[in-house]
Symmetry: C2
Subunit: 437 residues, 2 copies
């Protein structure tokens, strides 16, 4: 495709969807890319560039001539420019901002001010706003003109003279209305909006709940942008990725396409840190060496205690992490949830303890009923507490806004392991005289 | 709100978004609901009913008079009717189908034929299709008429005389065109579509990749429906829920709002099954009782081996489960991924082994260098294999379409535990004479 002459290339290339154009760009050599840059106009390349990953954006922009690069940036939506520039070193960022059209760069500088992962950071400023006193016919005419620029034309936002958001109407509402109707007679006055500082997860939840295609963003009641559903799909993916990493201690290394070396580099800090925690667990067992020496069969139950403590903790963790992500767990429901988890832990503990009281004497008759009792009671106490640890730790983390990696599945599992083994060996040591040695 | 008179109630109630109307309905008593049914017309209630959860739908429809209920169903979109009826017992389903308008019931029967979790099952048949020889002006007029019925008016699908899908255009394209242009001159002929049997995850991936608001569904090239982005958001949530349950053995019990008893009931089968697997692990340790008796300090390393094997396995599992969900792992890339994971496992093994060779002689000087060597080498072999187990098991499960619970995090962890302990104790037993006893 790339090796053809310009007009053939353009004909074939521009029949493709931008997503497919990106795939071609990413799959060709540097030399072929230079050919593409020559064949494609800056304003056309802008369309492709805004869909690229940041690492690719940085690479390709370095291959472009500066004038071409500036033209590309001038033709991109403001939110995409801001996202790109936010990743550049301060000096390069300022260079591009100074070369951009003044009007554009002001909008971008405004967007760059918003905190990461807020509505302000993911919103676009290219929406269509209308006045409540306009007529349907006038607005239709404006849409015709502004459609190529706007990110979505399917929702129109109605503002008053102070730029305050006063209503919303969908293109659907507009189309079924007669041309001479006033906007204020067809608009909905109950508009749901978010603030620039609203967390992007909160925005995603609202859009999912109400099936919105876009939601307006306000600052002190003034309309400043909109967040569209395609941006929200990316947010949902990003948040799921985070939650997944949290459960599996694989944060930042879930990408299936990186090299073995990069994967090992990203995962090894977790594994080594967890291995040192494993050495702490080893120390706990070392403390009870005498007990173990007296009743060696106790060692066989180490995995059972560890597995059960870890699993119940991970289940409770998964419930809380998902609940926080979906918004079903919030301040008002936390107390209820903790009570629920404690109850669940107690019940799981009772069920497991009874099962062990029946099974253990059968499997390890040499231990007698006392061994079964020790294992059963330890597990009961451990599971009741392990469920609480699994539920409380992520809630505290979330509240304190600490790095959530601390609440990851393996960390909670290790805490529960240590707790479970201490409970088990303490009870066994206390009752050592009653155990057949 | 509910206790007011009819006109006041209607005024307040219909100012609300259907999602909020649902919340009111779900929060009032049965008696108050009867009042609502009286105040709200069937065609208005249909709007609310289609957004309810199935359990609520079943409850509320049983509270309605039959004629009212039939009217509600007749006024719902076909896909929502099909989703609801699919959950009813055969006889009730047939009753409703027989009372519905004939034309509507035929459409619904057609939809009920599609397999769960496919494009056919989640699509709607209420789309707008146009002919390529129509003019823009004619189509605009048709949209004005059909807008209240159609699920989306923002994409229009162009079909030929055989109902084959030949093009697509967005309302945006339509609006910026002049009224006398022919549809064939403004439509895109490269249409991406899915088949009725396409998996819903595949549909979600395509819509996310191309930022589509809707995608057409075909059967033998004929257009039969569309899937819209709000349906896809629900699919994404559903699939994330599945994947989360898979990692944490909490499948089907991630809901934060069920009672402690229900939560315990749903989680206990996993915990008990895993506890029995823990007893297998106990058996493995029992087999090596003599070795343990000779060198009791070996017991201290049981948690270390188990934790590290479990953690590397879970990381690999998380990568594969996410990769399958996002579509970054497919047939062509599986070989590459496995090679990658094997390499990663080797590297993680080397790093951990070296760390232990340094740390263990310092922490456990009584074990000498030989103890460190046994622990280090065991961990190296275990981690190399554990990573592969974590990657391969979910791939096989996915290929064989078995219940993915078998590939859940805790199961893989337990398999890796058993493997790791066998390796560790086998090596220790073989080298027992070289260990200080």
């Amino acid at each position: 495709l790339v090796d053809q002459n310009m007009s053939d290339f353009r004909e074939l290339f521009f029949e493709l969807h931008p997503t497919d154009q990106i795939e071609i760009l990413n799959s060709v050599t540097k030399k072929q890319r230079s050919a593409i840059y020559k064949y494609v106009k800056p304003e056309e390349f802008a369309e492709i560039f805004q869909g690229l990953e940041v690492t690719k954006q940085k690479l390709y922009i370095s291959e472009l001539q500066q004038n071409y690069a500036i033209d590309v940036i001038n033709n991109m939506p403001y939110d995409d420019v801001a996202d790109f520039l936010a990743e550049l070193p301060e000096t390069t960022k300022d260079l591009y901002l100074s070369k951009m059209n003044k009007e554009d760069s002001e909008e971008v500088i405004q967007l760059l001010k918003y905190d990461d992962q807020t509505a302000g950071a993911i919103m676009t400023t290219e929406y269509i706003s209308v006045s409540s006193t306009d007529t349907v016919g006038n607005v239709m005419e404006r849409i015709r003109l502004e459609a190529p620029e706007a990110e979505t034309i399917y929702y129109l936002y109605v503002i008053d003279e102070q730029l305050k958001l006063v209503g919303v109407l969908s293109l659907r509402d507009l189309i079924v209305s007669s041309l001479d109707q006033k906007i204020e007679d067809v608009m909905l006055t109950r508009v749901r909006s978010v603030e620039t500082h609203t967390d992007q997860e909160e925005v995603a939840r609202m859009m999912k709940k109400y099936d919105f295609l876009a939601v307006p963003v306000t600052a002190q009641g003034k309309l400043v942008g909109i967040v569209t559903v395609d941006d929200i799909m990316d947010v949902v993916d990003e948040e799921t990725e985070e939650d997944f990493g949290e459960i599996s201690a694989a944060r930042g290394s879930l990408d299936a396409n990186i090299s073995a070396f990069s994967a090992a580099k990203k995962r090894s800090p977790w594994i080594i840190m967890l291995m040192f925690l494993g050495l702490v667990t080893a120390g706990v067992i070392g403390e009870f060496e005498e007990t173990l020496e007296a009743v060696i069969i106790l060692a066989a139950f180490i995995p059972l205690i560890m597995d059960s403590a870890g699993n119940t903790g991970t289940q409770a963790l998964a419930v809380v992490v998902r609940g926080l992500a979906l918004g079903t767990v919030d301040r008002s429901s936390v107390g209820k949830l903790l009570k629920r988890e404690f109850g669940t832990g107690l019940m799981l503990g009772v069920i497991c303890a009874i099962t062990l009281l029946i099974v253990v004497p059968f499997l390890y008759p040499e231990g007698g009923i006392m061994l079964a009792a020790i294992v059963g009671v330890s597990l009961f106490i451990t599971l009741s507490l392990a469920t609480m640890v699994g539920a409380i730790v992520p809630l505290i983390i979330n509240k304190l806004k600490i790095d959530p990696a601390v609440a990851s599945g393996p960390f909670i599992t290790t805490i529960n392991d240590i707790m479970g083994l201490i409970i088990f060996f303490s009870i066994a040591t206390a009752l050592l005289d009653y155990l057949p040695q």
